[in-house]
Symmetry: C2
Subunit: 795 residues, 2 copies
C-alpha cells in the first residue's frame, strides 16, 4: 500500500458518505447535508466530491448537487457512462488503479483544506464493498484516508440486516462512523431499530422523511425536490447532527493533541529511560495502514490550519520486528474475528482445536527439519525461549545425569546474544546493558566470539573480532553474499579449520579444565538482533553446531545409543528464530542458511504477521521423551492462560499461508533478480550443490537494493552495512563511544527528521547501528524513496 | 447463552440457508436444493424447516416447498401473518424468546437425525442480521448451532457489496460457509465477481439461471416454475455442489475424529504429564459459545449414527480462569477486528495509541487506588509479575542501598503462592511440585503460614494451619462470609493481635537475627489459585501489609522522608490480581476486600474478557521514580514485541466496559440478593462503616447459590467448600494423599463424567480440590443445574 496521508485538518471537516446498499439515497442525503452545512455557516466552503461515478453524465451525482445548490463546489474525478458497477464500466478504458483514485481524492481534499474553513463530503459509489474500477473493494481502497463516515442506512425491507452488515464491514476495517443517516419508512420502521442499535454503540443517528416520489415531468421534479431540500436543510435533527459532527471533529483533534501528555504521565514505557522522553518525543498514532503509521506531526502547530494534522510515517522498525503483511490488513482482521467468533479462547490443556493443530502441522511441514516432532505454545519470544531452555537443560541432565547443582548448568552461546526480558531468558545471555542492573539476573554459560559478515566499502567481507586474527583468520573478501553462504565450499578453507579448532579447544578447556557444565547450545541464526544487528559468519555458526554435536565425550559420562539420526547428540541445539525466521531474512526458516537442523526451534514476531502475541517452541521427540515420567513433576510444568489462543493461531495460519503463497507465486521476484548474483558462484572446492541455491525459497536476497547497499557502504559516515531479507543495518562510525552507548544512530535519526522531505520516519537505533526493517509487503517504490533519502543524508 | 448442542450428525447433513439480503431467492434456491438432494439419493430423507416465517400463510416458504416437491418434509415453527420483519410482526403475540426458537430448531433436527440418512435445510428469514421476534440478530440467535451455511447471494445492482458484507457478518461470528449459491444476472454479472471472490477463500460456488418471471395466472405460474425446478434439479453445477457438500461433511467428521490423535503426536501440552494423556483423553473442541465448548463426545461411537457428534460441554475452568463474557461473544470479535483493522500492531516504545491510553486510564480510574500512577504493559501474568518484581526490587535497593549481592534480595509472601511459569516469577514462590525440577529455579524469600477461610459443615470458619493454634488462635466460627470480611470489626480481636505479633516477630528474626534481605511483599489477594484455591483470611493479609509498611526500621538503614502518603514505606507491596481481579471474585479490584492499597498491581486473564493474552502492571509514582536516571541502564529494560498490542487493549476496553456496565446496571442482583446477609452484620467493635458494605461493587457475593454451598459442605466427601464471585472450590477428603498429589478431584471428575445426565463437564482438578469457575455471564439456570448434579454425585 502506497504512502497516503490520513486526512485530518483543523478547519476542514471531511467525511465519506457510504451507503448500506446501492440506491438508498446517498446523493439525496449528501445534498441535504451540503445545503445544511452551507446554511449553518455561510462563510465556510462546502465541497462535494464523487471520486468515481457510473451512469449517464446527465444523471451524475455531482450534477444533482449542482442543480439543487448554488454555492457548493461539486466535482467528479472519474466518470463512466454505463450504469453498472465501476469494475465493469471501467473495462472500456485504460486501467485505473486504486492509487490514482486515492491520490486524486487526497489532492482534492488538500486543495479544499487550503481554501479556508470548510466541509468536504466524499460520496462513494454503491455499497461499502462495491468494486472499484480495478476490482478491489471500495472500503479497502479508501481505508488509508480513514475519513470519518456518514452511513446512509437502507430503509427498505431487509434494510436492517443490510445496514448492520455494512457497518460491520466498515468497523472491521477500523473505520469510525460519525453519523448514521436514515430515511424514515413507517411501514418497515428500520430507522427505529437501527437508531437504538447505533446509539448503543455511541454513534449519533438522524431520521428524516423520505424524498417525494420522482415526478415524470422534469420541471415538476425539480420543483418538488427543491422544496424538499429547503425543508430538510432546516430539519431540526439535521441541525443537531451538524453540531454533533463539529463537536466530534473538535474532540478528535483535542484528544490527539493531549494524548502524548497523558501518556507521558500515565504510561511506563518498555525499554525506555523516561528521563530521555518528554511529551514532545512521544508519537501519537491515530491509525496505520500498510508500512505507514498515521501519526501526529510535531511540526504542525495550531496556527497552521491548512496543514494536515496527521502524517504518514514509515514504520522503520516494522513495529519491533513484528510487522510483515502491512498494518490494517483486512485479511488478518477477519481472521482474528473469525477465530474469536468461533471459539473465543478455549483452554489448551488436554484439548485440541483446529487453529492450533493446523498451525502445528504447518510449522512442522514448512520448517523442513526432520528432527522436529512436537509443538509447544506460549505467548512471546521470551517465554518461548524459557520453554526451550527448560527443555534442553532437562533433556541433557536426563541423559548425562551430572552430579552438580541444577543451577550450575549453563548454556553455550554467542557474545552479544539476547533472547528476551524474563529472568530465565536473560540468564541465557552474558552481562550487558540490558541485564546488568536486573536483580536475580545471572549469566549462566559461555559465549563465543565470532567473525562477522559486512559490506565494507563496496565489498562483502568476513571479519574477525578485533585482535583475534590468529584465532579466526584474516578478513576475507567474497565476490557476493551468496559466496559467504556457500558453506560447502568454504568448509575446508583455512577459516573453517581454524573455527573448528578454536571451538574444540575452548570446549575442552571449559569442561575438562575449568569443570564447567553445559546443558544446551543457543543461537540466533545468521543475525543477532538486539546485539546491534550483528551478522554472524554462517560458517562459524555451522561449525559450532557441528563440533558441539560431535562432543558428547566432552559433555558427559555417557552418550545416547540411538540409531535414530534425529536424536540429539553432544548438547541439544536451540535456534532462536524469533526475529530471524518466517521470511524476515527472506526464507521460511533461517536455519536453512546454516545448513543445520536445530533440536529446538523458537518462532514468534512475524508468526502472526504483526498482529497479536504468539510463540511456538518446536522440539524433537528425543527432547520430548525426557519429560515422560511416572510423576506429574517430571512433565514440563509450564503453560500460560492463553496458551495456543485460537485468535493467535488462526491469524498465524492466515499469515503463514499468505507468506508461503507470496513466496510460491514469485511476489518477491523483482528483489530476487536484483540480488541474483548473490547466489553462489560455482563451487570451487566441492562438486556438491551450492548452499545458496536458486531453489525457490532458498535464495539469498533482500528487498533493499543491491546497488544502494554498495553505494552507501562507501559513505564516509558508514563503517559497514548489510541487507538480508527485509533487514537493512547501517553501522555508523562513532569515534567517541561504541556499541549500545553510542549516539550515532540517534544522530542519523535526527538528520532524517530534519531532512527537507515529506517522507517521515519512525525508527529505533541500537547505539551506533541504524537499522530499517521493511514488511514483506513493502513496495519497491516505497523502499527506493527511502534509499534515496538515506543517500542524501549520509555523507 | 443457554446450553445448546452444536449440530453435527454422521448420517444427517444439516445446512442453514442465509440470504445476502431479503428477496434474493432463498426459497427458490432451497426448493432446488431439496429436489436435487431427493434426486441424487431417493433413499434419503429431505427435510425443510422455516423456523420463523412472516407474511400470509398462503405465501409461506414451507408451503412453496410442499407445492413443488412431493417427498420433502417441510415445516414451519413460528408463523406471523404480517409481511414485515419478525420483530415487528411478533409484537401481536406473547413474547417469543431466542431460546424457544433455538430449542425448536434443535428438537426438529434431532428428530430428523433419528429418522435415518437425510439432509435438512433450515431457511432463515430476510438477511443475515434480520431481527428475530425478540429483536436480536438472526445470525447471533442461530450461532450456537453453527450449522454449515449455504449463502444465497444478491444478484441485483449493489449485490456484490451486500453479498460480501453478509459473508463478513457471518464470518466474524465464526460460521463456516459450505456453499455460495448464485442466480445469474448477465447485466450486473455479480456472480462472476463473487465466484472469484469466494473461490479465493476456498468456498465452492454455483451459478444458475434465474427463475422465470412470475406469471399472473397461478396455474401458469406453477407450470413454468415446475418446469424450471425440474431443470435446475438436474443442473450440472448443482449436482457438483451436492457432491462437494457431501465431501465436506465427510471431511469435517473425519478431521474431528483424527484431531485428537494428531494432536497427541504433534502437540506438547502445557502443564501435562504426557504419560497420563492419550488420544482418548484429548477433547476436540469444534467451537464454543457462551459457557459451553462444542466438543466431541467420546461416548458416541461410529455405529451410533443417530447421535450428535458434538456435545455442549461446560467450560468448568473458565478456560484457565480467563473466560468472563462467554465464548464466541460477537462484541469481542468485532472489537478485536476493529483494532486490527485500524492499527494492526503498532510499536509501543515512545508512541501512544488510543486503545492503550484508554485502557491505562480506565484501570487507574476504576481500581480506585490512589497510590497507582503508571501502567506498564506485557503479555501474561507471569511476565507481568516479573515486571512487578523487577520494579519492587529496584525501588527498595534504590532506597535502602543494601550492601548485599542483588541475587540475595528475596521477597516476602504466603505459603503455596504461585505467580507464573517463567523463571523470575517462579523464584517468587517456595519450592513445590511446580518448580522443584526446574533448572535455574531458586526460591528467593520467605513465605508465611496463614489461616484459611472455609465453609465446614454449614458454617463459615477461619481455621489456623494444623498445629499452629498458638500462633494464629483457635478456629473461629462467623455468622456470615461478610463478617469474615469485616476487617474493621475484627482488627482488635485476639486473632488480629496474634497475627500482628507473629508477623512482627518473624520479620525481626528473619532480618535482624538471620541477616536476610527482602525487597518486596507479594500476595494474591483473598484466594491463592494455583495453590489449590486457598482462601486466605483477609484480616491476616491486611495485617501482613500493615506490619510490613510499618517496618522500615527493620528492612533498611534509612527510610523515606516523603510527605506523600502514597509513597511506599517498609517494602513495596505487590498484589498479584491476575486471577482474583476484575470481577472474578465479584469486585473490580480484589484488593478492596483487604482494605489496603498495593504499590504495584498486576492484572491479566479476565482483562480481555477471555479472548487474547494481555497483562498490565500498575505502579505508584514512588516506584517509577526509582528508574529515572542518567543512564539508559537505570531504566526498566523490559518489553515484549507486542507490548500494548492494539487488539488486546481494545478488547480489554470493551470487556471492562461490559463488566462495569453489568455491575452498574445490577446484572448480578439476583446473586447479590441471595448472598445479601453475607454483608457484614453491624460492626460491634467500631463505629466506622463496615468493610463488607452494601455499596454497589463492594458486596460479598457469589454466582453459586448460598444454600448449595451450605448443603454441599455437609456432604461426607467434602472437607470444606467456599464460593466467592464466580469461583466454587470444593476441598475433598482424601485419607491417602494430600494436596496436589491427591487424586480426589480426579475421582469426582470421573463420577461427573459417568453420571446419568446430559450435562457434560470439562474441569481441572488441583489434587484434592475440585473447582468450577463460571463466567460473569453465566445464567442462574446453568449454574443451578450444575449444583443439582454435584449434590447428586457427592455423598
Amino acid at each position: 500500500m502506497a504512502r497516503t496521508a490520513s486526512s485530518l485538518w483543523r478547519t476542514l471537516k471531511a467525511y465519506q458518505i457510504y451507503g448500506a446498499n446501492t440506491d438508498v439515497g446517498k446523493t439525496v442525503m449528501s445534498t441535504i447535508l451540503c445545503k445544511a452545512f452551507e446554511r449553518s455557516d455561510p462563510a465556510q466552503n462546502v465541497w462535494y466530491l464523487k471520486p468515481v461515478s457510473t451512469g449517464p453524465l446527465s444523471e451524475a451525482d455531482d450534477r444533482h448537487i449542482s442543480r439543487f445548490t448554488s454555492q457548493i463546489k461539486s466535482h467528479c474525478l472519474f466518470q463512466f457512462d454505463e450504469p453498472v458497477s465501476p469494475h465493469i464500466a471501467a473495462r472500456t478504458r485504460p486501467p485505473l488503479s486504486d492509487s490514482e483514485i486515492l491520490d486524486g481524492v487526497l489532492k482534492h481534499l488538500t486543495e479544499c483544506s487550503q481554501a479556508g474553513p470548510g466541509v468536504a463530503l466524499v460520496e462513494t459509489a454503491g455499497g461499502v464493498h462495491s468494486p472499484t474500477p480495478s476490482g478491489s473493494s471500495q472500503a479497502d481502497l479508501y481505508r488509508p484516508l480513514r475519513l470519518p463516515i456518514c452511513l446512509v442506512t437502507d430503509h427498505r425491507l431487509g434494510g436492517i440486516s443490510a445496514s448492520i452488515s455494512a457497518f460491520e464491514s466498515l468497523h472491521v476495517r477500523g473505520y469510525d462512523l460519525d453519523a448514521v443517516l436514515q430515511f424514515q419508512d413507517d411501514h418497515y420502521q428500520n430507522y427505529s431499530y437501527l437508531r437504538s442499535y447505533f446509539e448503543k454503540k455511541g454513534i449519533p443517528t438522524v431520521s428524516i422523511p423520505q424524498p417525494p416520489k420522482r415526478e415524470l415531468n422534469e420541471e415538476e421534479d425539480i420543483e418538488v425536490m427543491t422544496e424538499y431540500y429547503d425543508k430538510m436543510a432546516k430539519n431540526e435533527g439535521i441541525g443537531e447532527l451538524l453540531s454533533e459532527l463539529s463537536k466530534r471533529h473538535q474532540t478528535r483533534i483535542q484528544r490527539l493533541e493531549e494524548m502524548a501528555s497523558r501518556a507521558y504521565s500515565q504510561i511506563w514505557y518498555p525499554f525506555t529511560q523516561h528521563r530521555d522522553v518528554s511529551e514532545d518525543t512521544i508519537l501519537t498514532i491515530d491509525s496505520a495502514s500498510g508500512d505507514f503509521f498515521q501519526a501526529t506531526d510535531s511540526t504542525v502547530t495550531k496556527d497552521k490550519n491548512e496543514l494536515a494534522l496527521l502524517s504518514p510515517t514509515f514504520d522503520g522498525s516494522a513495529s519491533w520486528w513484528t510487522q510483515g503483511l502491512g498494518h490494517g490488513n483486512p485479511e488478518l482482521s477477519l481472521a482474528a474475528a473469525y477465530a474469536a467468533g468461533r471459539y473465543g479462547h478455549v483452554m489448551f490443556a488436554g484439548t485440541i482445536h483446529e487453529p492450533a493443530l493446523t498451525l502445528a502441522e504447518k510449522l512442522l511441514k514448512n520448517l523442513k527439519n526432520p528432527r522436529l516432532g512436537k509443538v509447544f505454545y506460549s505467548d512471546n519470544g521470551s517465554t518461548g525461549m524459557e520453554v526451550a531452555t527448560k527443555m534442553a537443560l532437562t533433556a541433557s541432565l536426563e541423559r548425562y545425569k551430572w552430579d552438580v547443582p541444577k543451577s550450575d548448568v549453563g548454556i553455550l552461546g554467542l557474545k552479544g546474544s539476547y533472547h528476551g526480558d524474563t529472568i530465565g531468558a536473560m540468564d541465557c545471555s552474558e552481562p550487558s546493558t540490558y541485564n546488568e542492573k536486573v536483580h536475580w539476573y545471572q549469566g549462566r554459560g559461555y559465549w563465543f566470539d565470532f567473525p562477522q559478515v559486512k559490506m565494507k566499502d563496496g565489498s562483502w567481507v568476513v571479519e574477525p573480532p578485533a585482535g583475534m586474527e590468529d584465532i579466526f583468520g584474516e578478513t576475507h573478501v567474497y565476490p557476493s553474499l551468496g559466496d559467504v553462504f556457500d558453506i560447502k565450499s568454504r568448509y575446508d578453507s583455512v577459516a573453517g579449520q581454524k573455527y573448528r579448532k578454536y571451538i574444540e579447544e575452548t570446549l575442552h578447556r571449559l569442561v575438562k579444565k575449568e569443570g564447567k557444565t553445559f546443558g544446551g547450545l543457543i543461537m540466533e541464526p545468521v543475525i543477532l538482533g538486539a546485539a546491534g544487528m550483528l551478522f554472524a559468519d554462517p560458517l562459524f555458526q555451522h561449525c559450532l553446531v557441528q563440533v558441539v554435536r560431535q562432543s558428547s565425550h566432552i559433555f558427559g559420562p555417557s552418550d545416547v545409543n540411538s540409531a535414530d539420526i534425529n536424536t540429539w547428540t553432544g548438547l541439544p541445539v536451540i535456534f532462536d528464530e524469533v526475529f530471524t525466521g518466517l521470511y524476515r531474512l527472506g526464507r521460511f526458516s533461517s536455519a536453512s542458511f546454516l545448513q543445520v537442523h536445530p533440536d529446538i526451534s523458537v518462532h514468534a514476531k512475524l508468526l502472526t504477521g504483526g498482529l497479536v502475541p504468539l510463540c511456538t517452541t518446536l522440539a524433537s521427540d528425543s527432547i520430548y521423551d525426557a519429560f515422560i515420567g511416572s510423576e506429574k513433576r517430571d512433565a514440563l510444568l509450564h503453560g500460560h492462560s492463553y496458551t495456543a489462543h485460537a485468535v493467535g493461531c488462526h491469524v498465524a495460519n492466515t499469515s503463514l499461508n499468505t507468506l508461503l503463497e507470496m513466496d510460491r507465486s514469485g511476489q518477491w521476484q523483482v528483489y530476487k533478480e536484483d540480488w541474483a548474483d548473490a547466489a553462489a558462484a560455482p563451487s570451487s572446492s566441492s562438486s556438491a550443490p551450492s548452499t545458496a541455491s536458486s531453489e525457490t525459497g532458498l535464495e539469498v536476497w533482500s528487498s533493499w537494493s543491491k546497488s544502494f547497499i554498495q553505494q552507501i557502504s562507501k559513505s564516509r559516515d558508514v563503517e559497514s552495512v548489510f541487507a538480508l531479507g527485509s533487514v537493512l543495518a547501517i553501522n555508523l562510525h562513532d569515534n567517541e563511544r561504541a556499541g549500545y552507548n553510542s549516539s550515532a544512530a540517534a544522530g542519523l535519526q535526527k538528520k532524517l527528521l530534519e531532512a527537507p522531505t515529506e517522507l517521515k520516519f519512525h525508527s529505533r537505533g541500537l547505539g551506533n547501528v541504524f537499522y530499517l526493517m521493511a514488511s514483506q509487503t513493502s513496495t519497491r517504490e516505497t523502499l527506493q524513496s527511502i534509499e534515496r533519502l538515506l543517500l542524501d543524508v549520509l555523507s
